[in-house]
Symmetry: C2
Subunit: 654 residues, 2 copies
């Protein structure tokens, strides 16, 4: 095995090409094997288990006694049994601190996000109570802070408001909101039960970056209603009508509201900036919303006789979540709307909840089971829809604060729920004078963090089509509507996959001198062509969607190679080797294409052989009987063996 | 390089595992290279040219004089210039024979298929005249016989009849049929001009097999109307209402019609059977339709005073195609229906035309340019829609007869058109007494050939999911509707691609003794695991749709390997090698997954290295800066080099 120089000048390349291949001829040609025979049923079972149980959730149950299986089963269904027995005072202390911290964020957030969904503020507080308790029993993430989130609130508000106005028919609007929450929960938990978690994988990161930035801008602009003190505002969500509404209602702008709003907005943005710069000071931004609420409420209360132009929350009912199962709406003209809203908010909140759960789990190196989380979030929403809550999930801002405040288990959610309970029972009158404008400032501060221009720049740098999907979801949300914008972005992502499949790469390989390795001639300048051979690698499964293309493209490679050979006066082309390493699947159209290709090349006295077909491709070739036409001499284990064997078979002839 | 036995018993395998790897250590470790740097614009250009010009249509124009370029351009646009100058008497003789043969088929087929589309029979004859002339100038296939086809006729009839009845409003129905033909033509030719030919590749063979069988059954059942002599028949296309209609109208059954119909059906099926058994006798089945028409017409004519219960065609207008451009329908309530019908029939007829063209071209070893064919078929339909023709394309039955009768060029289409011309001008009154029942028998014989149960059986044997797509399109067409059945089948085919992408295979590789080759342990029983290593091959691009799955699945492989090692008391796992040969693409989510995986494994003191990333993956890894975190020691050219280099770096330590 000689050591060659890594770089060969172009003239050198041509010289070496006319010599015998430089790599070592293997002594033995290996037979390409079929994978072990399995029945259709076994194949189906294997395939289904890979689709639905890729994480093998039952591996812990193997070789255990019946009693242990019961315990493990309980632990599987209710993760609280897993950490419960080892719970101690030290952990409780951490959880109390973090629980109270997120409660101070949850109360103003709950009120603000409910307004975002055009729901009465009290619904936001209810939604921070029941779901948190349910999640703490069922959830497998230890750091997830549960409650309403901005995106789901925004989407619910925008989708419902386009058909029903809260101010005109509050009961119907509430009914639809609870029904949508119910369907979101049913959808989420059934995804979990049916182990179809991969559905949410189709919302790619690129799509979400664009979507969140678009949604954040829309939401911020919507908050101009509160921030400028406008009374009559559009219910539409697109950028054009919202901006139009802002400027048409210029006479309703109130300078007192504007002054108050922008001061608190400045204060909140400053605290956010400080916490971003120094992560240790996370509590500053965590405490800022509650501080703003208290300060602004005191301010408005003290000047209640002097200024009347500032809108306030007004009376909030005292008491715990009233039951709302009687408000679920199962027939009537708006059922389709409720189901659609439930699906969209369900998918979005699930995506956020699971992504957030996985992020914090990976920071502490534990696993979050996606399908289990779906069930937990789904059940929490079903229960929520029966107790006057709207869609909730794991919130990014709450979980970040929870994690930073040192949360150890989901007990912090119980502590938060207790704090909300106390608020609901005793403290509601205190919010009477809270100005709406401060809630608008809190919402803007929260959603501005969703605009991740650095991620967008990275997308541009690494993958232009990903960036296009990102742009489409961004502009789609801004100018068309939330579900359509999302739909377009998902379609582009899927289209990208299909494009990759229907126009796969084919590359010409050459030998890397001194090794039996064959590589892309374009990537490795030192790789050499083998005279009389053209070695092509197909970089995709061969499917109906690309079979015709691949056939034409391979014939074009052959034609171009023949033209190149004539130009340099090289030895005639005799053999085409298809490197099948990256052909990870083949269907009936693909098999027909291979046959056809072989027939066409044979008519031109060219030999076609396959190198390294993987297991299931080999199996399909065998089942369709085309292996017989190729013969065992037409399929090789590696490109190197194919070249060695075929060129040695030529030698005796000339 | 020792020669090992190919099969090693399980105990031997374990013993060998604990030894040093058996393959030869390469002397030199090769650096993985980035592909040559290109600008975004160059990349885009390359990508677009691969998508739109994979066949490099301009390669003939290279290095030619201006005059030659003009000639070549004319030849490109009008293939008649290519073969025209070499046309001679010998070729003409062949073309006349074949042209007259297909004309004898075309006349009864034209009348029958027009009835299938619920159009007046004369439209079918018109459609065999103008389009055939246009195709003979523009088409690049030499054997395609042009005219109306059963599937497109059926689909047009069924889609239009669901909204408009020909018997109630014939003018509107005709208008919609011509408009649909116009849109089909526009759609087809724009696919050709925009070089989007790959759209029709998404109708996989599996889908078409099921679709054609379903359509054939529906059409045959619909013909029971004519065959049994029923007067009042459903206009629906699903199997249930059609069968119900047959049995509810039992009192309308006419024994004379039934007798006549089944005799001719038997005659036609027999001739078909003979021609299938002995391909040399193709002319028997080719001449049978015209023979049946003549015989049955004579029969009915001779008994015209005795029996009145047999429905006849009646008066047909004499003369050439009247212009119909004034009947195109561009606004009004049915425009959407016309466009939809045009799209569906356009796609279907294009698929048939191109598939048929390619089939016969490959028999004679010439190329048919898909995009050019689309333009030819599209222009032929646009011209057809302005001269009282409905959707036409290359017909399978006509082309087969044409080919067998010895056609040499598209002149045979001109001969056929001339024969149709003579018929239109002088022979129309002869068809006055032709009974409808014989047309029903001709249609049934034609469509029964579309049921290809052998292809369906092959699908079942080779690919179960393909078979499922086939079944769905079959039952979808039978029980729901033609466009929906097709839609479901396309969705299943696309879902199959997405499933393959979202749940890709990962396999464990082992070394094949005596070679530097690493292969699937499951497929190659002789392959050996390398102690302290686990080598995983990912058989798919790493995309957003599978990033999460792959991460979990790889971690599960590592966990299972660790459990296996403990069970057999082997040496601890130290290094995971990901063979990236089949990873033909990566997006931003995929890159994040690799980083995350590396981080998680590092926390468990496991090393992750990549082997053989291909060009564009390498480029993306580089652009996203994660190559720095892997370091050049984290990426190897081949699995063999990675194992050799890493295990040699361990040796000094213990």
């Amino acid at each position: 095995m000689g050591v060659n120089s890594n770089r060969v000048d172009p003239f050198g390349t041509i010289k070496i090409q006319s010599e015998i291949p430089m790599f070592q001829t293997p002594l033995e040609i290996h037979k390409v094997r079929l994978p072990p025979q399995t029945t259709t049923f076994q194949k189906l079972r294997h395939r289904l288990s890979e689709i639905f149980f890729p994480d093998d959730p039952f591996h812990r149950f193997k070789n255990q006694t019946c009693f242990m299986k019961l315990i493990l089963g309980l632990q599987y269904l209710f993760p609280i049994f897993q950490w419960g027995p080892e719970y101690n005072l030290r952990l409780l202390r951490s959880d109390i601190v973090s629980g109270l911290t997120i409660a101070s964020l949850a109360i103003p957030q709950g009120i603000s996000y409910a307004k975002l969904a055009n729901l009465p503020p009290i619904i936001g507080l209810y939604s921070s109570f029941v779901p948190a308790l349910i999640y703490s029993v069922l959830g497998s993430s230890r750091h997830l802070g549960v409650g309403p989130v901005s995106i789901a609130s925004l989407v619910m508000g925008s989708m419902l408001s386009e058909s029903v106005s809260y101010s005109q028919d509050p009961i119907l609007y509430l009914k639809l909101a609870f029904t949508a929450t119910f369907f979101a929960g049913v959808f989420q938990s059934s995804l979990g039960v049916l182990r179809l978690g991969f559905v949410i994988d189709f919302l790619s990161k690129a799509t979400l970056v664009g979507f969140m930035a678009g949604a954040a801008i829309i939401v911020s602009l919507q908050q101009l209603k509160g921030l400028l003190g406008i009374v009559h505002f559009t219910t539409k969500m697109q950028i054009v009508p919202v901006l139009a509404s802002v400027f048409i209602q210029r006479d309703e702008w109130s300078w007192q509201t504007i002054l108050l709003g922008f001061s608190f907005l400045f204060f909140l943005l400053m605290t956010r900036h400080i916490s971003l710069k120094k992560p240790k000071l996370f509590w500053i931004s965590a405490a800022a919303p509650l501080t703003s609420v208290i300060l602004s409420t005191l301010l408005v209360f003290s000047m209640r006789n002097k200024i009347h132009k500032i809108a306030i929350i007004g009376e909030l009912p005292k008491g715990l979540n009233p039951p709302s199962s009687n408000m679920l709406y199962f027939n009537g003209p708006y059922l389709a709307l409720a189901i659609k809203t439930g699906l969209v908010t369900g998918v979005l909140s699930l995506t956020e909840g699971i992504a957030v759960g996985r992020t914090f789990a990976s920071l502490r190196n534990y696993q979050v089971d996606g399908n289990k989380e779906m069930m937990a979030i789904g059940l929490m929403n079903i229960a929520g829809s029966c107790s006057s809550c709207y869609v909730t999930t794991g919130s990014f801002s709450r979980s970040a604060v929870n994690y930073n405040a040192g949360a150890q288990t989901t007990v912090s959610n119980i502590i938060m729920a207790s704090a909300v309970l106390v608020t609901l029972l005793f403290l509601m009158p205190l919010f009477y004078y809270t100005p709406n404008v401060v809630l608008a400032a809190i919402i803007i501060t929260a959603v501005i963090g969703l605009i991740d221009y650095q991620a967008a720049y990275k997308l541009w740098k690494v993958d232009k089509l990903d960036f296009l999907a990102c742009l489409c979801s961004f502009f789609g949300v801004l100018f068309i509507s939330v579900p359509l914008g999302l739909g377009i972005a998902v379609a582009i992502s899927v289209f990208k996959i299909l494009l990759h499949v229907s126009r796969p790469n084919t590359v010409v390989l050459g030998n890397i001198p001194g090794t039996p390795i064959f590589h892309n001639l374009n990537q490795y300048k030192e790789a050499l062509r083998i005279p009389s051979f053209i070695i092509l690698a197909v970089e995709s499964p061969i499917y109906f969607a690309n079979a015709t293309y691949l056939q034409e493209r391979i014939l074009r490679w052959v034609r171009e190679e023949e033209e190149r050979i004539i130009a340099i006066n090289g030895s005639t082309l005799k053999c085409i080797i298809l490197d099948m390493t990256a052909v990870t699947g083949i269907d009936t159209s693909g098999i027909d294409t291979l046959c056809e290709l072989r027939r066409r090349l044979e008519q031109r006295s060219l030999q076609l052989v396959l190198a390294n077909p993987i297991g299931n491709v080999m199996e399909k070739l065998h089942e369709s009987n085309i292996l017989n036409s190729f013969g065992m001499k037409g399929v090789y284990l590696s490109v190197g063996e194919a070249v060695a064997d075929i060129s040695s078979s030529w030698k005796p002839q000339p």
